[in-house]
Amino acid sequence: MSARNSSTRTIRGEKNLQEITTAHPDGIGGSPLRPDGTLKVKGEFAYSSDLWHEDMLWGMALRSPHSHAKILSIDTTEALTQPGVYAVLTHEDIPGSKYYGLEIQDQPALAFGKVRYHGEAVAIVAADHPETARRALAKIKVEYEVLPPITTEEQCLDPETHGYVHEPHEYRGHASGNIVHSQKVVSGLGVNEDVRAMADVVVVGEYEVGMQDQAFLGPESGLAVPAEDGGIDLYIATQWLHVDREQVAPVLGLPENKVRLTLAGVGGAFGGREDLSMQIHACLLAQRTGKPVKIVYSREESFFGHVHRHPAKMRYEHGATRDGKLVYMDARIVLDGGAYASASPAVVGNASSLSVGPYEIPNVNVLAIALYSNNPSCGAMRGFGAVQACFAYETQLDRLAAKLGMDPVELRQLNAVSQGSHLPTGQVIDAPAPVAELLQKVKDLPLPPALDTTHLDIRELPGALSNTSHGEGIVRGVGYAVGLKNVGFSEGFDDYSTARVRLEVIGGEPVAMVHTAMAEVGQGGVTVHGQIARTELGVERVTIHPANTEVGSAGSTSASRQTYMTGGAVKLAAEAVRNELFNLGRSRYGWTYNDLSLIGGKVVSASAGVLISMVDLLGDQAIDLTREHHHRPTVPFDKETGQGFGHVQYTFCAHRAVVDVDVELGLVKVVELAAAQDVGKALNPLSVIGQIQGGSTQGLGLAVMEEIITRDGKVRNPSFTDYLIPTILDTPPQPVEILELADPNAPYGLRGVGEAPTLSSTPAIVSAIRAATGLALNRVPVRPEHITGT
């Protein structure tokens, strides 16, 4: 591996902000090592919080202690006089637009008039040391008039009595009342008394999903460097550089071309970096002071600094015939979007359109809404909308199976969608949909051995080293679930990606350089880009250019879309480079072959054999081409019926969970979590399995421990001491079965991988706990008191 100097701006020689070149024979389907792996294990990979610049200042935000209050005054005088303090800014100092937002521009960059959630940023400080900044924040005087917070569904839906989170005249998008967005889906006959009469068996349930946090380990952070042209260079950990820029530039009062973003190392994302956090604040402070400004959130601030998974309250009703065929489903899904819109409209779109799960149901009636409230803002988190619905419909299917006296897996298989099935949106699944097969795969795996009480290792029991159980009170259970997720941005959004590929001879070898704005957040996109370039261009050496806004947008690293979309763009650009190379040969040597390919650094004709080496053909010429990849178009869902070709691709994962439950204390240890997923084509099998195991583990967290607790809109547990995520002792062996049934519409037939495993993991685990305890358990996370009944 080598790090080559390039024209890319770096700060103190951070190696991942330069080009990284690796040589490897493996194209797609292999598992070559990550190009950034060596830097990461040596501690040399520069995450956004690691950046350092001479003369740099530290930025910090003052946040609201109230969930709902009027701001009567802000006095920064004393803070400004502190030695070492360079700037104290409020909304009055914003040179451009005061609002930003991912889908709806409803969020103030710094609060004015009102604060709408606990932790909303009110003022920002730049100082020479974080401790100086902290002390300066304490000197800012903000006078609040505390207002009663609007936090419950009942309060939100009765604005006449409880008021508005945003005044109606401020509404943007489709908001009305305290509802940010709503979507209906009606198919077949809908659900009415006649339809209900067709069912022999009905189950009705109410379900709740708590507010989960992405809990990525790398805190929100970045470095804003003022440039000589009056612009700003921002080094940042994000999921989508270009949409950050679109939101930042107007607030700074700068044209977009004067705000240049480069991706710094990203310590995980999971949706939590789709929205802006400290980007605008660092830029404003850099603009004001003329000095580089770094902001790094503490873990506590991180809990306030990004949006969370929407908590949901859901009412589901399923009707089926005596032999288990589903007749109808009626669902109402209420998502709490918190103070600002963030991704709420898209979350509603997914929750409603995917609300039935991977089942054929002839008659469907669904309403999904997201509320504005004074709770923390909620937005994107892995599998959004679909995760909440999956917990509800899979619980319903278990209950229906119990009521019918059927095996829960067989009931699912009986009703499972397959290629050609109609979803309630009217969309036909036009690619393989092996739902029944995936369930069978996890069911057929051997079960882990029973708890061995004669050779106890307490580290394998619930509580482990807490000595909680030596086998006392332990009951085992097994549960299954399967889910339905879309890939890519939906509802008519032209979700394109751009890639630039350059082929040239360096050091006597052909080298492909791949340049995109894709946010590598850990998923391994950079590895896959190299594999695609190798496959298409027959080279071994690939250089990954740092991601930045010098190239066109790569869209977001979310919605399981990056390998499909930006991987697809790299494929297109590499193919174009290849064609250009062939044309070079044709014009120079008069080739007429139509059977050319690039193999092992050579141009090969299937009929005539090796024609020339790429080194000789290229000489000192470089081929440098940029291509955009657009997925097939989709359309918005009809507002009243939800009908429409709304999603690009569907993806499916099934889980079997085995749990040991300490029924006396309510602690759960997942013993094994098996998954089976159709990935279309595993471009990098090692990474695919890593995605499935990681996604499943986040689902495990939601099943048994993870929840942001609020009271009157105030967050009670903003720390890793009180917001628990799974440790290695909480996480079991996870066998993974991969299916590769190609999707004819996707590059290489691949299917987005990242999110599907997060859906079904949660209901499978809760189903296993139900099997162990016989309890209903209609809420996640399942807390000890739900199991002990007190």
Partner: protein
């Protein structure tokens, strides 16, 4: 105050250190050693794990002044020579245990210590030893694989040497 100590085999010193500053901050911001990570600064995540006089500790919970005259070894000092990698580092790459990589430096130090103490740990030993290192990306399975791989490689290297 001024703090002088040994970092990765080299004497270092930091000036104007605030009494409440952590070893982690001093390493990252004053000594150009940002390999140890700052994910929680409450001792819950293990991302900042470093050796202090041979024992792995959370550097966020060590006051800078406490390390006066002591020996600190960070992820940047794990590999024996400039070009190579420690077997634990190599195993983490090979096994796919690195995704975002933010937890990796802490896990490497903690795993390195485990294999020094117990060259052939059981799965439960591994889970106990790494129970203070949160990882949000991998679901830990590839990390288990990496530790087993590093253990196997170290043991086979050792047996080759002894033969």
């Amino acid at each position: 105050m001024r703090v002088t100590f040994n970092a990765n085999g080299r004497p270092v010193e930091a000036d104007d250190v605030w009494e409440g500053e952590s070893l982690l901050f001093m390493l990252r911001e004053r000594l150009g050693l940002p390999g140890s990570k700052n994910a929680c600064e409450q001792g819950e995540c293990g991302s900042c794990t470093v050796y202090l006089d041979g024992a792995p500790v959370c550097s966020c919970l060590v006051a800078a002044g406490q390390v006066q005259d002591r020996e600190v070894r960070t992820v940047e000092g794990l590999a024996d020579d400039e070009s190579g990698l420690d077997p634990v580092q190599q195993a983490f790459i090979d096994a796919g245990a690195v995704q975002c990589g933010f937890c990796t430096p802490g896990l490497l130090v903690q795993t390195h210590d485990l294999l020094e103490r117990e060259p052939q740990p059981s799965d439960s030993d591994i889970r106990e030893a790494l129970s203070g290192n949160l990882c949000r990306c991998t679901g830990y399975e590839k990390i288990m694989d990496a530790v087993r791989l590093a253990s196997a490689r170290k043991c086979s290297d050792a047996s080759e040497v002894s033969q």
